[in-house]
Symmetry: C2
Subunit: 448 residues, 2 copies
């Protein structure tokens, strides 16, 4: 067995993942739209040798902005500004396949990949929400339709990335030959959702294809991930659930001719860190005391699909069907959590406030490292999606105290191995579909 | 009459505006996709106290990539990376209204405006080309349809920018009130082209509205500019033509209730600079000698709408109708130029190679400054769109030699006056359509 190294992504969200983060004295909510805040976060993550930073996204104002610091910056424009002040860290942006055109998306990620020297990644989402549909003048598409569109979208995007072969640009000034047009290909794609001639108006991205990331945990989502994704963000509450998801997803790869190591599973974890257990629990309590129940109730009502009121705060969660398919994998997780731990609605709100269903672990750096190690070494994770409760402090604490512990244990890098996001994730650079087998110009890493 | 200051925009295009720039020893064509090249250009422009940098764009691979360095970076991602390394310079990106959705465009420019601290500008184009239509699976829309869509597009975008009032974010941690939702507005726009609910998921941009720029010179284009644009890029060959265009456009403003100083007219100029006239002419000749006639012939054929061959190189331009309306304003300019100066096709190619129909002036810094001054002081320009033949050298020469001459003459700033792009262009910050008259929070600059 080859040496396995842990992978760590910093999930950047405003001034913290805890829904009350903006009320805590450790944060400055005015920094929500301040690029210097995010630049500081990216630099902290890079100081910790993390693989990547990641920005979630939605195409509508989600949640109750009366009670939370919502409405930040657009991920792709923001990541370019982070690329400019960092050298190694990967840059992953969420972009929807439902409300975009493949030509634009291929081009923007190609551009970000060029700008960052091969550090771009795309978190592919299909935008389930009603509010998003209404900003684009359409009815909310059905789950299966969204995934059918996403599949064709991805075909077109990867074909656009391949439309210039790696050696298409010749740059022979004397002969006056800039590009060898026999190595620049039209697509003439004509499918159910898109007709795209191509080629892209940008040379092939440094990574060949920017990294493909996905986060859906529905049946369609897992199948899409097994076919296309190279990293998967997921919410798993217990080790057993994490192991089940990991085995399930890795087990699906073979049917697409892929090896298990070609997809990394990265569960979310919100680490509430203290130098003592008591200190960590105190921070957790401070944040819990700042929760506004009306905010959490509205979020939870949307998640479980029934309207919950203040009157129900101190009762158990009502019976809720979890047999639904589709966008409802988060519903099952929440209902299972409430039942397993016999939580009242108020207690459940406290558990969800930290990570919206992602696992929250409060403790010393050693304790956090233990949790990470157990999951990593027991078939539940290839790494983690780190969701600090408050930012920037929570990320700095992770980098300065948990990362060294992981390094001492030999689990995590002390220097970047690669020059690209793929390089650091240990993933190969895809060959162009137009590259000729045995072509002496073929990049060696492609065939490794 | 109040003091009028000249405005200067640096039009950044690959390694230079001359079509043979990539073959000249002064350039490095490999820098076409290197963000550091553009960062260097933005810093040079800022060193010269220029108002802004500007990136053109198309949504297809235009022109013959065998013979020119085409296929660079996407403007919005690139400008964010430039924002990160500059403090004052405005950042203007071209984005099409024909192949985009207003929600995305409003959001990306809001984001760039936040990231840059109020330096974003949008060059609004309607994408005339056949090749672009084919990358989005549609038939090329008619000229009038494109402008009708653009008008509605702009209504929606500006309404989205206004959807959060300037003081919507309260940020009261103690009370748990982040935003006053009575100051965040849905649009419920329902028009011929778009249905958009809103609000935007981003607070109001620092400039209120990022600067609106336009470049169409057709009848529809000029009318659109008169109604919406705050700066107009235009190609005018002679002082008389420049004066006519200037008077025409400024004369259209009153019918939209606008004053002449609310729109700046910025003709393009490609300055070929030498410390002596002889040196400038030598550089011009060097570039001309590197022209590949096949490239220019293909470009010119597209421009004039007939297929020109090598056999016609040393003959006058054939008779061509210039009575067409619509996207053909560039055709008229080219045909007029050939007739006025009695040029052969080969000579015309030489004249177009420098600036694709924009004026080319070769000479000493004083000579370039003279040209700028004459147009500025005689009703033909409020400033200029500077199109250096080679980059970065041509921009550095302009900044280091022409700008000081303009400063000595009292025509150009020696320090930035404003903190925003609007501030430097001398344009007011628009009040939100939801702002209440007499509201004590109303920004004073709005009512100036």
């Amino acid at each position: 067995m080859t040496f396995r190294t842990l992978h760590l992504n910093a999930f950047l969200m405003g001034v913290g993942h805890h829904e009350a983060a903006w009320r805590h004295p450790l944060t400055e909510p005015a920094r929500l739209t301040d690029v210097r805040h995010y630049q500081q976060l990216a630099r902290i993550a890079e100081r910790g040798k993390l693989d990547s930073v990641f920005l979630a996204d939605g195409l509508a104002l989600h949640g109750d902005v009366r009670h939370n610091a919502l409405g930040g910056l657009e991920p792709l424009t923001l990541l370019s500004a982070l690329a400019a002040v960092t050298d190694h860290i990967g840059l992953i942006a969420t972009v929807s396949t439902t409300y975009n055109e493949p030509f634009h998306v291929a081009r923007k990620f190609a551009s970000l990949d060029h700008i960052s020297g091969g550090r771009a990644g795309w978190n592919i989402v299909t935008s389930a929400g009603e509010a998003e549909a209404r900003n684009f003048g359409v009815e909310r598409p059905a789950h299966a339709d969204r995934y059918a569109r996403a599949t064709e979208f991805l075909e077109v995007v990867t074909e656009l990335w391949d439309s210039w072969e790696d050696d298409a640009v010749v740059g022979d000034r004397r002969a006056g030959l800039y590009a060898d047009t026999s190595k620049i290909h039209t697509l003439d794609h004509d499918g159910a959702h898109f007709r795209v001639r191509g080629p892209l108006n940008s040379s092939r991205p440094p990574q060949g294809h920017p990294l493909l990331v996905q986060a859906g945990s529905s049946e369609d989502g897992k199948e899409f991930a097994a076919r296309h994704a190279e990293a998967v963000f997921t919410a798993q509450q217990t080790l057993a659930e994490g192991q089940e998801f990991y085995a399930d997803l890795k087990g699906r790869l073979a049917r697409y001719g892929r090896r298990p190591d070609q997809l990394l599973v990265l569960p979310g974890i919100s680490p509430i860190i203290g130098s003592t257990e008591r200190e960590a629990l105190r921070l957790e309590k401070e944040l819990e005391d700042l929760i506004i129940p009306a905010y959490g109730l509205a979020q939870l009502s949307t998640m479980v699909g029934i309207e919950l009121t203040h009157d129900e705060l101190d009762r158990p969660l009502p019976d809720i069907s979890v047999e639904t398919e589709g966008a409802q994998s988060r519903r099952k997780l929440v209902v299972d959590l409430a039942r397993r731990e016999n939580l009242t609605v108020r207690q459940l709100l406290g558990r969800l406030a930290g990570g919206r269903g992602h696992r929250v672990v409060a403790g010393t750096p050693e304790r956090i490292a233990d949790e990470i190690q157990v999951w990593f070494e027991n078939g539940a994770a290839d790494g983690f999606n780190i969701m600090p409760p408050v930012l920037p402090g929570g990320l700095a604490d992770f980098v300065d105290h948990v990362v060294p512990e992981l390094q001492i244990r030999g689990l995590f890098r002390t220097e970047y191995e690669g020059r690209t996001l793929r390089g650091n994730y240990g993933l190969a650079r895809p060959a162009s579909r137009h590259a000729r087998i045995g072509d002496e110009r073929l990049d060696p890493v492609v065939v490794s």
